[in-house]
Amino acid sequence: MHPAPSVIIFTSLSGLGFGLLAWLGFGYPNVTGMTAFIFFFIAYALAVGGLISSTFHLGTPKNAIKAFSQWRTSWLSREGVMSIVSLLVIAVYAIGVIFFNQRWQIFGWLGSVFSLITIYTTSMIYGQMKTVPRWYMGLTPVLFLLYSLAGGALLAAQVLPAALLLVALTIVQYFSWHIGDGAFKQAGHTIETATGLGNLGKVRLLESPHSSPNYLMKEMVHVVGRKHAQKLRMIAIVLLGMVPALILLLAPANHMLVGVAVLSHLIGLFAARWLFFAEAEHVVGLYYDKR
């Protein structure tokens, strides 16, 4: 799949933002006033910034408002609805702790749960795609939730939970790559099954239907850059979980180093999310004899 920057930024940043909101809503860290304002500002900037970024890849952004209408069937619509609901509910809690030194806890808890549901709906936009076997598995929502909870804990300065979640995330990320590598084969799709011509023998594309790449090939049969996948995986796994977890466990009080941990996690997250798209293979590639 084409790794569109707007979608990578959207899923990464809004995932972090809603992860941080989930921690803040549950009262971690227990802050009020100006400190609370800074935490909530960062969370809202990430969540809203990510959501705005997601509209940059739309062909007709003026119709984006209609995306809130189909929540009964569409995960993308559910994601839109849930993100707005979460942001509104947790805003009430944020106003309480920032301006009135009050904990209207019911709004905090509800907002946190809604934020987690939002992350789940984001993950299901990809997890529902039967056409992309690498995404179509139960680990996809687990992975997205772990990314948000671990990254959120890191930003919320929850040292021990963050370290443990980062380790868990690193392990789950490794296994989802490992399982994902075999997913296409496991699903059993081949050029023979796609064309129904397998009874005639081995099938190959003799002549492409068009002379240069079309929308489908650019969007779904993205093969550029996969050659560096193994290196990027190594970079991602070290930066997103190992480095930040080590810093948190060894030097939790050093603000400078914790800043490095956050930066390291961000770079690892972007690398892993780039791979999430670039390595995903769509079954339509079979009609082009390409993966």
Binding site: A67, T73, K130, T131, L197, P209, S212, Y215, M220, Y287
Partner: protein
């Protein structure tokens, strides 16, 4: 709502005969011509005269080669357009309600006034039946020529999809699969029509007729394919030519 109807009164669709298709791409062109000037936004071209021309098409013809060991390769031209699935995943993923499946005839359509061009429906389609129009920013797909098949302003014999009407080989057939006595139902049953990628669970309506096995001319068979009932001609020429042949061999 982008919920799918439980059932549709008709199941309009196409039978595509892979045995008959000659790969001329006439259906591709006639589809582009009809659909660029009728229903919805025109099908745009990008860089049409440049190095990498790209454009929106609702119908494409792939050409495959199938080869079994010790057998001659077989070429199969493979037209591909929307299969108007009963369980269309492109419809249910749509967040704006632009994609829908019609209850009366099962045609899957895009209401372009509602489409925000997110492309998720194209991701959900295993067949590559949907293409985003770059000029218009909305998703385009086969309408089964909904503006022809019910169009009382054109002669009755023309009320079929443009690709069906134009196919010089008669490889494309249009009809109602809900009616077991329809032309397409009978044709598909007689020729063992197949659905594409059934394991995706999309329940496509369109059917593909598999190519008939070709005669094997590479084997040890002595049958002369063009003249199977004639006596084999003598291998050696006689008379002067025979003498010349022998003499030249000996040099």
């Amino acid at each position: 709502m982008t919920a799918l109807p439980n059932s549709t009164d008709k199941k309009l669709g196409l039978v595509i005969d892979l045995d008959t298709c000659v790969g001329c791409h006439a259906c591709v062109i006639s589809c582009k011509e009809w659909n660029t000037s009728n229903y919805g936004a025109p099908l745009s071209d990008m860089d049409a005269y440049g190095a990498e021309p790209d454009g929106t098409f609702l119908n494409r013809v792939h050409t495959f080669e199938a080869k079994a060991p010790e057998k001659p390769a077989q070429i199969v031209h493979f037209p591909k357009s929307c299969l108007h699935c009963e369980d269309a995943p492109c419809v249910t993923v749509c967040p704006t309600g632009a994609s829908y499946k019609r209850t009366e005839d099962g045609i899957v359509l895009v209401n372009e006034a509602d489409c925000m061009g997110c492309g998720l429906c194209a991701w959900a389609c295993p067949y590559g039946a949907r293409e985003m129009d770059k000029a218009e920013g909305v998703m385009k797909k086969c309408t089964l020529c909904v503006d022809r098949i019910y169009n009382e302003n054109i002669p009755e014999e023309d009320r079929v999809p443009s690709c069906v009407k134009t196919c010089p080989a008669g490889a494309r057939h249009f009809g109602d699969f809900a009616d077991p006595e329809s032309n397409v139902s009978i044709l598909s049953a007689a020729r063992g029509g197949i659905a594409l990628m059934e394991d995706q669970g999309t329940k496509p309506v369109n059917r593909y007729l598999p190519p008939r096995p070709k005669a094997d001319v590479t084997g040890t068979s002595q049958i002369d394919i063009p003249n199977p009932f004639l006596e084999p001609t003598p291998q050696k020429a006689g008379g002067f030519l025979g003498w010349l042949d022998n003499a030249l061999e000996k040099i």
